[in-house]
């Protein structure tokens, strides 16, 4: 029923899909390159009173290591205009005070959904100095296109 070339094609197809799976799995679980999946819950109507979001800001937590606690709300990021030295690893802890937002930093792999009721975490090492554009990539209302800030790496 099947031509030999079709069998070869289907074996290659199957192999390719399995190859994708194995590589994606290996990277996710051996190198911790998996997508942002933090699961802690929070009352979305009491973000301002809940630690650590009662004091959003940047904190040095080690040699070249920073933690940024950030809230997202229409149509801004708090804190905004962050500055870190080149070579820093920055751990972002994020939540939303209203609707669903996206946290994306252009020219990096930082990209995470920020959903009300959930705390999201994502980490990035900034090697190259420059000004990085932070933007909301999930439509959140009339001023969505203005929702942005910057991370300056010196």
């Amino acid at each position: 029923m099947m031509h030999r070339s079709e069998k070869v094609w289907l074996i290659l197809s199957f192999g390719m899909i399995i190859g994708f799976m194995l590589i994606a799995g290996y990277q996710a679980f051996a190198f911790e390159m998996g997508p942002p999946s933090y699961g802690e819950r929070i009352d979305p109507q009491k973000v301002d009173e809940t630690a650590p979001f009662d004091k959003p800001g940047i904190k040095k937590i080690g040699e070249n290591e920073y933690e940024v606690v950030m809230t997202l709300q229409v149509f801004s990021f708090t804190p905004s205009e962050i500055e870190v030295p080149a070579g820093s690893t920055v751990h972002f802890t994020l939540t939303s005070k209203d609707v669903v937002h996206g946290f994306q930093v252009a020219e990096t792999n930082l990209n995470a959904m920020v959903v009300p009721g959930y705390v999201q975490k994502i980490t990035q090492k900034f090697d190259k100095p420059g000004e990085y554009l932070v933007l909301c990539n999930e439509y959140c209302g009339a001023g969505h296109q203005m929702m942005s800030t910057t991370i300056t790496v010196k």
Binding site: G34, N111, M113, V115, P116, G117, Y139, S148
Partner: protein
């Protein structure tokens, strides 16, 4: 075995003759004509709105306050993602059911009409708040953004209308099976069964979602579970796109081989592709949530596997299509390793448009595989790349197949014929559409990789250097969009010319036959009950863990927000 083939050959000959003499019944024709008219009016309106967005993103057009970018985008999505696709799919498959099952049952025809008006009514209800800027929530309407309750009530009617058509199709197929014991459902109706099974089961999650949103949008309930709503939406959202894809695939397997004068691919393998796509589709939606919080990495990884698995039947299809082309061309005297391509009817729009549609699925499918893979998804999630991706899959692979079908389907239901002039117009339209889509979607993919977000009106982000560097790419959206608008106008002209003004005559419903020496297809392919059970088991494996977790370990809910 030989007698079986001869017999089925004879019935086929008889049916073809009957069809040639009588054609489709006027009542069935009217139904399909109405569905297709709505589909092509939707593409006209949706196309105009799309052009406005392209011009805006290119920084060339500022939209007025009474018709802002997000209103336009919500309407564009609803018109093309819901109206165009649903109405074309139903119109086409109901003509196919009528043709291959010996006419629609009167009861079924009535159900399809009730479904038609429910969908129209629902659509009007949904559009009014969009126009009033009371529902600028996109067609994904993620809570806790809350539109006017009227918007959601409109969606309920659209879903109910689709269900009417799905049940109508099931009743017609079941009645045919009763009258033809031991026979296989004709292949086009087999595809139709798969599509309507998916339409019904795929829209159950969104129906549940909308029923939880309505009391919340009215203010009767204070808060909503955001992640449950989001997850239910995508169980439906991705199934929907795969439904039109399966509709296009039906034409590739069944119609196109006949148009080029060949025979169709192995019947058993064709049916296996349908069954596989039906069983595996619904769980694919989860890859839209790969970078969501609150879902553990092992669950996400399992979903990567479930999404990638859908690639396999598509890769089977890729082989089958090119094998059919080569075989047909060689029978016509085509020679050489690739030289046989000269024997294919490139000047026939009924072949050219679906061929380019298939070819577009090569990069489109590859992009899809990339997007569904954990870490790669994180790179492109919610960027313009995704918009480029679905303009390749839907705007090219699906819609160009629909265009190609329209050049015989509309004459068939209108009892008219395709003229050489309209064929030529169609060929030019196909070329313009192809160029427009390549330019637009190519630029979208590229600028998405650079970071430009989707669903965002033109913005320099306060003259940010990175954002400004995207502008040259975004300019191509305007060029591509303009070409596509020309394509829409040509296509809509061709459709209504063929429906009302083309010369009268008989047009064939092209259904290719299997190869003469093909072994009979085993009976197990007809066990639809089993396929549905398999599908439900898979959906359970995919969704029980995350949904139970979202419900049992739910954070306090969210009140409604109107942020526009």
């Amino acid at each position: 075995m030989e007698t079986v083939i001869k017999q089925s050959g004879k019935t086929q000959v008889f049916k073809d003759k009957a069809n040639k003499i009588m054609g489709i019944s006027l009542e069935d024709a009217k139904l399909t004509k109405s569905y297709l008219s709505v589909a092509f009016l939707a593409i006209l309106l949706g196309g105009i709105l799309g052009l406005l967005q392209g011009l805006n993103r290119a920084g060339m057009l500022e939209l007025p306050a009474w018709l802002n970018y997000y209103q336009v985008l919500t309407a564009h999505g609803l018109l093309l993602v819901v109206v165009l696709s649903a109405f074309f799919t139903i119109g086409y498959f109901y003509a196919g059911l009528s043709h291959t099952l010996g006419g629609l049952l009167p009861k079924v025809r009535k159900m399809a009409w009730v479904g038609f008006w429910m969908k129209i009514f629902g659509f009007v209800l949904a559009v009014i708040p969009i126009l009033m800027n009371e529902a600028s929530v996109m067609y994904t309407f993620y809570p806790p953004m809350a539109a006017s309750p009227i918007f959601y009530i409109g969606l309920v009617f659209i879903v109910l209308g689709v269900w009417m058509c799905a049940f109508g199709a099931f009743i017609n197929v079941a009645s045919w099976r009763k009258r033809n014991p031991g026979q296989h459902i004709p292949i086009l109706s087999f595809f139709a069964t798969g599509v309507f099974v998916l339409l019904f089961f795929g829209s159950i999650p969104v129906a549940i979602e909308v029923f939880t949103i309505i009391p919340w949008a009215f203010g009767w309930v204070e808060t909503i579970n955001v992640m449950v709503a989001r997850t239910l939406f995508w169980a439906f959202g991705h199934t929907l796109v795969n439904i039109w894809y399966l509709t296009a695939v039906s034409a590739w397997y069944v119609i196109v081989p006949k148009v080029i004068g060949g025979r169709r691919w192995n019947d058993l393998l064709t049916r296996i592709v349908v069954i596989a796509l039906v069983i595996m589709n619904i769980t694919g939606g989860f890859h839209h949530q790969i970078i969501d919080p609150g879902i553990s990495e092992p669950v996400k990884y399992m979903h990567v596997f479930m999404s990638l698995a859908i690639g396999f039947p598509s890769l089977m299809t890729a082989y089958a299509m090119f094998a059919v082309f080569e075989r047909t061309a060689r029978r016509k005297g085509g020679k050489g390793i690739v030289g046989w391509y000269k024997k294919l009817p490139w000047g026939d729009v009924r072949f050219l448009a679906p061929f380019i549609a298939m070819a577009a699925f090569i990069p489109a499918g590859a992009g899809g595989i990339a997007q569904t893979t954990n870490q790669l998804n994180q790179v492109v999630h919610n960027t313009m790349w995704v918009v480029g991706h679905f303009h390749l899959t839907l705007g090219m692979s699906v819609v160009m197949t629909f265009f190609g079908l329209s050049y015989w389907l509309i004459p068939y239901v209108s009892k008219r014929v395709l003229t050489p002039q309209i064929n030529k117009l169609g060929v030019i339209q196909t070329i313009i559409w192809t160029l427009g889509m390549i330019i637009m979607s190519g630029a979208m993919h590229w600028v998405g990789l650079l970071g430009s977000p989707r669903r965002t009106s033109y913005s320099t982000y306060f003259d940010n250097a990175t954002a400004l560097s995207w502008d040259p790419y975004l300019f191509f959206l305007a060029i591509g969009g303009t070409l596509l608008m020309i394509g829409v106008l040509m296509q809509v002209y061709a459709v209504f010319y063929l429906m009302f003004f083309a010369p009268k005559g008989n047009t064939e419903f092209p259904i290719a036959e299997v190869e003469e020496d093909e072994a009979p297809t085993p009976r197990w392919t007809e066990r639809w009950g089993l396929w549905v059970v398999c599908m439900i088991v898979l959906v359970g494996m995919a969704y029980v863990i995350p949904l139970v977790d979202f419900i049992v370990n739910a954070p306090p809910g969210s009140p409604p927000f109107k942020t526009w």
